[in-house]
Symmetry: C2
Subunit: 140 residues, 2 copies
DNA sequence: TTCAATTCTGTAATTATTACAATTTTATTT
DNA sequence: AAATAAAATTGTAATAATTACAGAATTGAA
């Protein structure tokens, strides 16, 4: 399935901009922020507006085609991988990595039993990634 | 232990402002944002500056006396309860509730085995709280 | 009491995000 | 194919959260 059809499957009308943004999300697992996407696509689509990137990602999230991450304190990041998975952000380089998510059914049930409707599960870790650990030890 | 000693135990020099802010955090489990704290303390300390609230919370987080939550998309929230626990934010009213955290030792070990140093575990849910569920059904 | 260090304050600057009106593009109807 | 309507995009301006910073106030030590 190409990106055009992929967007249609989420009830999103494909446009040049939307296809380019979704394509970027699907091909780059860097959990990009608005600016990363905007700058990356600016070469191909010089008329692209940052407002369009904002609007488009909001649309994607509303239609379930992307997820917004509020892991980074500075600004929102976006993930084209909508499957259940956890994340790890390196405090040193800021990169966000994908990690497997182990859903605890009992924990969810306990919350539901208290009368809460659970719609989203967020799970992430912070620490230092292997690369930064290596680089830091090299300095000594 | 009073708040004065509590701050000292985290190597934080107590001042009128710091004591008031930590006291607010310890007594209110609402996961307040900067503005909530600022407005709540403004009556008692009319000279309080919002910059001081920012600086103080940053200091608390650095010393481990408070945790910053980036659950709410609008602005950062703060938690004086530094024990390991999860959260639930209601998409309707925005309130953040405390939930028990079930740490999955195996998941942490798997991440560590990949060469990552895990320093923080974040776990939260989003959905609708019991009160909002009730209010929404009342409208029908 | 004097001096130095720390803390606090208020304003200005910065940055991310949103609002909105005008323009462009796309789809539909005649 | 031209005219019309609807939707999407753009760019600028506004908003809001956060940070930078310099001066004032407070604290602690000599």
């Amino acid at each position: 399935m190409n990106v055009y059809e992929y967007l249609l499957s989420y009830d999103i009308k494909p446009s040049v901009q939307r296809i380019a943004i979704m394509d970027y999300l699907l091909k780059h697992h860097t959990h990009p922020c608005i600016d990363e996407i905007y700058m990356a696509l600016h070469d191909d689509i010089p008329t692209l507006s940052k407002t369009t990137v904002y609007n488009t990602l909001k649309l994607f999230v509303e239609h379930g085609a992307a997820k917004m991450l509020t892991i980074d304190e500075r600004n929102a990041c976006f993930d084209g991988d909508t499957s259940a998975h956890a994340h790890f952000q390196c405090k040193c380089c800021g990169k966000i990595f994908d990690m497997p998510m182990h859903i605890n059914e009992k924990a969810i049930n306990d919350i539901a039993d208290k009368g809460f409707s659970v719609e989203e599960i967020h799970n992430y870790y912070k620490g230092v990634c292997p690369d930064c650990k290596k680089n830091n030890s090299d300095k000594n």
